[in-house]
């Protein structure tokens, strides 16, 4: 209940910040007026009455800030101000901002690519029992060397070899 109330007031405070500020200003203004009138009734001159009212209040701006702090949106307001400041600063020097963004983009791109390759080649080993002892047998026509060409012996091609390649543990 209290927590809900807390969240609700804070959201409300953010959404209707200007209205709440205006309300607080109205509140403080009325207070100063009423105090001034009391001083007038006590027989002070209008200017002195108002001066004493302000003194008795003790720093309008200070208490206005404090009352706003209580609402607990100051950190949010401040960080929003920081973001706007950063954007303005970046727009002020578009060249170097562009370079910075480009550098970041390239660096992140290169990093991601490198990692993807390393991940595929090194980190995720092949789905066989002893991947380091794996060989690929190719069938090549007589007249061509073994160095290139030929088709990998998978499926139907490999089947007839299966029984005859005794040096190999398993073929598929």
């Amino acid at each position: 209940m209290v927590v809900l109330n807390w969240i609700r007031t804070r959201i409300r405070a953010l959404l209707v910040r200007n209205r709440m500020d205006a309300e607080l200003d109205d509140e403080i203004r009325l207070h100063i007026e009423l105090e001034t009138e009391k001083n007038l009734r006590d027989g002070l001159s209008p200017s002195e009455a108002r001066r004493r009212a302000l003194v008795a209040f003790g720093g309008v701006e200070r208490y206005r800030e404090q009352a706003r702090d209580v609402r607990g949106v100051r950190p949010l307001e401040d960080s929003w101000r920081d973001v706007r400041y950063a954007v303005r600063a970046l727009l002020h020097t578009p060249g170097s901002s562009f370079l910075a963004v480009l550098t970041l983009a390239l660096a992140i791109g290169a990093g991601t690519t490198t990692y993807s390759v390393v991940s595929a080649v090194v980190l995720n080993s092949l789905p066989f029992q002893e991947p380091d002892r794996l060989v690929n047998v190719r069938v090549a026509p007589k007249e061509r060397s073994f160095s290139g060409g030929g088709r990998p012996s998978t499926g139907p091609t490999a089947k007839p070899l299966a029984g005859r390649l005794r040096s190999y543990h398993h073929t598929e």
């Binding site: 209940m1 209290v2 109330n5 807390w6 007031t9 309300e23 607080l24 109205d26 509140e27 403080i28 009325l30 207070h31 007026e33 009423l34 105090e35 009391k38 008795a56 209040f57 003790g58 720093g59 309008v60 200070r62 208490y63 206005r64 404090q66 009352a67 702090d69 209580v70 609402r71 607990g72």
Partner: protein, 111 residues
């Protein structure tokens, strides 16, 4: 203007005084300050400005609630009223204040 023996109101105490002042019915900020000063026979000077952070804090805590209304001479004012949790809190705060004041008094009398 103010008596020399007047004491500034400490923060926690101010909350208690506000709650107690609102017990009979809702009031706006300035009237709360006046009432506290009047009830204490001018012995307690409430920093008038410090009322507002305190009021907003109590409102945040759900102990009081605010509503706009009009004063006797038709001016817009924000009226504060005790809530149910506020009434409970007032009871507890009063008890703990009296315990504290009584304890200090015991020490003073015994020394």
């Amino acid at each position: 203007m103010s008596p020399t023996s007047s004491s500034d109101v400490l923060q926690g105490t101010l909350d208690l005084l506000i709650l107690r002042t609102l017990k009979p019915g809702s009031m706006h900020g300035w009237a709360i300050g006046q009432r506290i000063q009047q009830l204490s026979e001018d012995a307690l000077q409430v920093g008038q400005g410090s009322l507002y952070p305190a009021l907003h804090r109590l409102e945040q805590r759900g102990w009081i609630e605010a509503e706009w209304g009009t004063t006797d001479n038709n001016r817009k004012a924000k009226y504060y009223a005790l809530t149910k949790p506020g009434q409970r809190a007032l009871g507890e705060e009063m008890k703990s204040w009296r315990r504290f004041a009584g304890a200090v008094e015991l020490v003073l009398a015994g020394a």
